[in-house]
Amino acid sequence: MEIVKKTPAKLGTHDLCPGCGHGIVIRLIEEVIEELGQENNQIVIAGVGCVCTATPAMRFDRFQAAHGRAAATAEGVKRVRPDVLVFAYQGDGDAYTIGIAESLNAAYRNENITQFVINNVNFGMTGGQMSWTTLPGQKTMTSVSGRNAELTGLPFHFPEMVAGSKGFHVAYAARGAVIDAKTINQTKRMIRSALEAQLNGEGFSVVEILSPCPTNWHMSPKQCREQITGPIIAEYPLGEFKTRD
């Protein structure tokens, strides 16, 4: 009996909720890094949130950044160790709501790092509070009658912002999802492009990944995937917004 496909060697076990998308994303990242031959040359800068529940599975060099500051920390690591593959791994509450200054400044300066953002449209670990990516009308712990767009603004689109705004010259920006085999394979290709951009010194690359959150959406894993296929993808279209030259 010969093994033809197994979980990357650098991954252990994690304690995430059943049906959570984090587990799939870290497996995709590690598969790509193994294929690129960089498994002993990588540092993950972890954000705060459910990411902290996922990082115990990452059995390689990792650094726990302060809340929202993973992009800034990754820049520092990359500047002193330019030969190492450095990526920030964050949630949407961490990278956008709390750390938008660090994320945007890293993109603006076109720092040679990669940022992966898991977008589950709420703050997962603290119990499902509203974040900048929450859909208008969506009920969360802190928007009990649904998000009021007049009071709290409209959903935040980071990849489109850094790909399309004047003054930004990022190398790669894309949005994927982990809801079926097709989108998972598509997301893996995006992760590969983002990491290759960093290895070639092209500059900042970001991949946002839409991920189910069964616990805080109060849905079954199957209902969560239907929720992403319907209203969430309607708000956050998948695709590459800035491709590599």
Binding site: P18, I24, P221
Partner: protein, 68 residues
Amino acid sequence: MSKKALINIAACKGCGFCVDVCPKQALSLSAEFNPAGYNYAVIDEKACIGCGTCYTVCPDYVYTMVEE
């Protein structure tokens, strides 16, 4: 030579993602519990064609694809 999926029952959290996507309906959730208290995925080995879709979607690294 045929490909098959192996299941690590202890790692399964019973989310049912693999059951939904299996093109041959070879997977189902058990009535029993694993040591962590979840209904784990069980495989009908005769129906499995070793396509690896379950490996692709599993968030908890339950599957290993083997060739025998």
